[in-house]
């Protein structure tokens, strides 16, 4: 197939944008500076779906963070879905991997095109009524989530195994080369700590499904399912960047089978479906195709959304809200539902969080884990603090810095150190001094608050029939911020003898503190 310079330009743009996003992804890590020097969550600041979630959430719109998303919408209304063809990293990934997995040429019923609009409408209606699930289907969130939770951990695991092998086995010629390249990888191209995520495989399978859909139809996801594509499509209806000819030519009809988005029809060009890949400028045997700026003309048959379908989508979206609300309040049901510092009140948090996984990528202590059902039926992939895996580093404010939608407020260090995310509770049936009469203080030793929130008190305890003087740990509620380092470091094997619960969170209206010396 002949390719025009437009095709090369598009491919360059796709590769360049993908490279920029991957580079920013690698920079989403602590590298010795408390304040991240790059706008690492740029991908979500240009994301109109993230802006929509923020716009429909309570509180003022985050102009300062999300204005780039509005620029994208404005440019789309002028030029069409350039974002899908030229910028979107998921689109670029599908274009790139399509060759690898094989490309289906099945022509799907045009009816499938409507699904993405219904998805957008349904999700939008649900968001309007307080249940925001846009992030589950946002292609940018899918891209970064898959990268963070699955692809990057697997990449690190594999590389570590390779380096470990050559560390353990000294092979002539090969080993020195591998060993010498290790510092470069360790310092710039790999994660400092091997990332560990509970939903890695689950997230990967979803990503894999989207990739494998390429075998069915090229850009199946983008054409039929992507709600961001639908939103951009709606905006591009009156775009002034136009293709000539505007319909299939009577003598050729090549575009009918070659156009990857099936946008060129006999009735005219469906502007909302054209991904602006511009391949047609190359493969047109008559070299008739060109793109140019002019006022919108006729011949856009558009996609007939059908009133019945739209109404069904709206109704389904609206129904989600009460369906969720008739369940129990999740954080009362699950006392271990702990959110990162700076998280806004749970209901607003769920409306703002677009499940982009930026916070989980940047978390220095690896405590942030994606939720499956722990945060309720609509909490999938939202960040949880899981202290047995890792703890919240006392002097770190990174998660608030990367959150693009204000689900996590950016806190100054002094604010963060006062932000209560939970409360440590000692389990006397597991804790060594209490349960076994053995000395231990690991929780107290690691407690990071200046005046320690865990204190040791000497007491005579009956151990094996004899009184023994032991130091026993106690939590001082008013000093504990729930960072969870005690739970992480507790040396008891298996379940920790100290666990953080979500009592007394700063983001909730505080119930009165209990009086008394440990209150």
């Amino acid at each position: 197939m002949k390719q025009s310079s437009w095709t090369y330009a598009r491919r360059f743009s796709q590769s360049f944008c993908l490279a920029v996003f991957l580079w920013l992804f690698l920079q989403t890590e602590y590298r010795g500076i408390d304040q991240l020097p790059y706008p690492v969550s740029l991908l979500f600041r240009i994301d109109p779906l993230a802006a929509l979630a923020d716009f429909l959430a309570p509180g003022p719109f985050g102009w300062s963070l999300l204005w780039p998303a509005l620029v994208v919408l404005l440019l789309t209304s002028l030029f069409g879905r350039f974002f899908c063809g030229w910028v979107c990293p998921l689109g670029a990934t599908l274009d790139g991997l399509g060759k690898l997995v094989g490309r289906g040429r099945r022509a799907f019923s045009p009816g499938w095109r409507r699904v993405k609009y219904y998805l957008l409408i349904g999700l939008g209606a649900a968001t309007l009524f307080g249940v925001q699930l846009l992030g589950l289907f946002d292609p940018l969130a899918i891209f970064l989530r898959s990268l963070t939770l699955a692809v990057y951990p697997a990449y690190n695991y594999g590389l570590n195994k390779v380096f470990d092998f050559f560390y353990a086995n000294d092979l002539p010629l090969v080993s020195p080369v591998v060993k010498n390249s290790y510092p470069l990888f360790r310092d710039y191209l790999m994660a400092f700590h091997q990332p560990i995520f509970a939903l890695g495989l689950f997230t990967f399978l979803i990503f894999l499904t989207i990739v494998l859909l390429e075998r069915v139809e090229h850009r199946f996801w983008c054409k039929n399912l992507c709600p961001l594509g639908a939103l951009l499509g709606l905006c591009s209806r009156y775009a002034i960047l136009q293709r000539t000819p505007q319909r299939l030519c009577a003598d050729c009809q090549a575009c009918d089978s070659l156009c990857r988005s099936g946008a060129v029809r006999n009735a005219g060009l469906i502007r909302s479906e054209c991904l602006l890949c511009m391949d047609c400028t190359g493969y047109c045997p008559e070299e008739r195709v060109s793109f140019g700026l002019r006022h919108a003309a006729a011949h856009d048959p558009g996609i007939d959304l059908q009133r019945r379908g739209v109404l069904t989508a709206v109704a389904s979206g609206i129904m989600i809200a009460p369906a969720v609300r008739i369940g129990p309040v999740t954080y009362e049901q699950n006392p271990y539902l702990i959110r990162p510092p700076g998280a806004v009140a749970e209901e607003e948090f769920l409306q703002r969080c677009v499940r982009c996984a930026e916070c989980m990528k940047v978390c220095i202590g690896r405590t942030l884990q994606p939720a499956l059902l722990e945060a309720g039926p609509v909490g999938l992939w939202t960040p949880l603090v899981v202290p047995r895996i890792g703890y919240c580093e006392y002097n770190c404010t990174l998660c608030g810095q990367v959150c693009p939608t204000g689900a996590l407020a950016p806190l100054k260090l002094a604010e963060k150190q006062k932000n209560v995310i939970g409360l440590a509770v000692i389990k006397k049936d597991r804790c060594l001094p209490f349960a076994k009469g053995i000395e231990c203080l690991v929780c107290e030793e690691h407690c990071p608050t200046g005046e320690k929130a865990i204190v040791m008190e000497e007491q005579d305890v009956l151990v094996d029939g004899q009184l023994r003087r032991l130091k026993l740990p106690r939590v001082v509620d008013k000093l504990c911020i729930g960072c969870g380092i005690c739970e992480t470091k507790c040396p008891v094997e298996g379940a920790s003898a100290v666990r953080v619960i979500n009592q007394g969170e700063s983001r909730r209206k505080r119930t009165e503190l209990l009086a008394g010396p440990y209150g």
Partner: protein, 306 residues
């Protein structure tokens, strides 16, 4: 747990059994606890001063100079406490100035390489930066100095001969393999071991679930110190942490003492450091256990003050 015993162990046990039998049921005399260095009193240097580099140099030269401890061409490990994400004035980590001058002294003595590391409690990147150790090491500008993160692959399980709390533990091999170890703890309060000093600082070069050591801290630390020999122990008491240790976080818990203690005998150095807290060596079980097991001298009257 001992499946095989080597010849030395066999002989020792036989002798012990014989002595026990000869003594007619008296507890066996533990030959290991015979103080090996008791014959010659270990030197101990204590100096005060506000100029940190000068203080380090004076203290080390009181011991006869660094060349007594580091020979040209040797690989030296300098092991400060960098355990916590705390700044210098909070007295949770060894003073970067003390570490820097010691490293410089090693370089002046002709060390081939000086390696600095610690297995930290908080994130190691934060600790190395926040403690000031990273910038101090970088400011030396020598290729022979390397501040390293612990390599997770370099731990190896070793047998602890005569171990009281453990008979095996994971150790960090670069320390075992180095020619010299200079142990540079900071003197701090600690709820279980009372104080954290030179012996406790060695916990930063072992692997495994370190929390388990606290169940029997005195014997555990002696087990560790019996495997890892410190050629020189320099206790940083320029500032000490009197409460809320070992991590601190409040200036009111810090006392500025401008003091440095150094000795080739880790027990003697630790024993002297207890006095800075108004304690005596007998009150700190780790020091007592180590002395009983012959790892050094705790009786300050038997120490040669220089």
């Amino acid at each position: 747990m001992m499946n095989q015993i080597d010849r030395r162990t066999f002989i020792r046990r036989t002798v012990q059994a014989a002595i026990a039998a000869a003594a007619g049921g008296l507890p066996a005399l533990d030959l290991l606890s015979l103080p090996a260095q008791a014959a010659q009193a270990p030197p101990l240097a204590v100096r005060k001063g506000q100029d940190v580099p000068l203080l380090v140099r004076e203290t080390i030269s009181a011991l006869g100079g660094i060349q007594n401890f580091v020979k040209p061409g040797e690989v030296v490990v300098v092991k400060p406490n960098i355990g916590w994400d705390r700044t210098v004035e909070l007295a949770a980590n060894t003073h970067p100035g003390v570490v820097k001058t010691l490293v410089q002294l090693c370089l002046e003595a002709g060390a081939k390489q000086v390696r600095i590391f610690d297995r930290t409690c908080n994130d190691e990147r934060r600790c190395y930066t926040q403690s000031g150790i990273r910038s101090a090491m970088e400011s030396i500008r020598s290729e022979r100095v390397s501040l390293e993160y612990m390599d997770r692959r370099a731990y190896k399980e070793l047998t602890i001969k005569g171990g009281q709390a453990f008979d095996r533990w994971e150790f960090y091999m670069p320390v075992i393999e180095a020619d010299r170890l200079i142990n540079v703890p900071i003197a701090k309060h600690h709820s279980i071991s009372q104080l954290t000093l030179g012996m406790k600082n060695l916990m930063g070069v072992i692997g495994g679930n370190r929390g388990r050591l606290h169940h029997n801290i005195a014997e555990s630390l002696s087990d560790i110190a019996s495997v890892i020999h410190s050629d020189l122990t320099v206790v940083d008491a320029t500032r000490i942490l009197k409460a809320n240790g070992p991590q601190g976080g409040r200036l009111q818990d810090v006392r500025v003492l401008d003091t440095l203690i150094a000795s080739p005998d880790i027990v003697a150095a630790d024993a002297y450091a207890t006095t800075l807290f108004g304690l005596s060596p007998e009150q700190v079980p780790t020091v007592v256990a180590a002395a009983r097991r012959g790892l050094g001298v705790m009786d300050l009257k038997q120490v040669r003050m220089v």
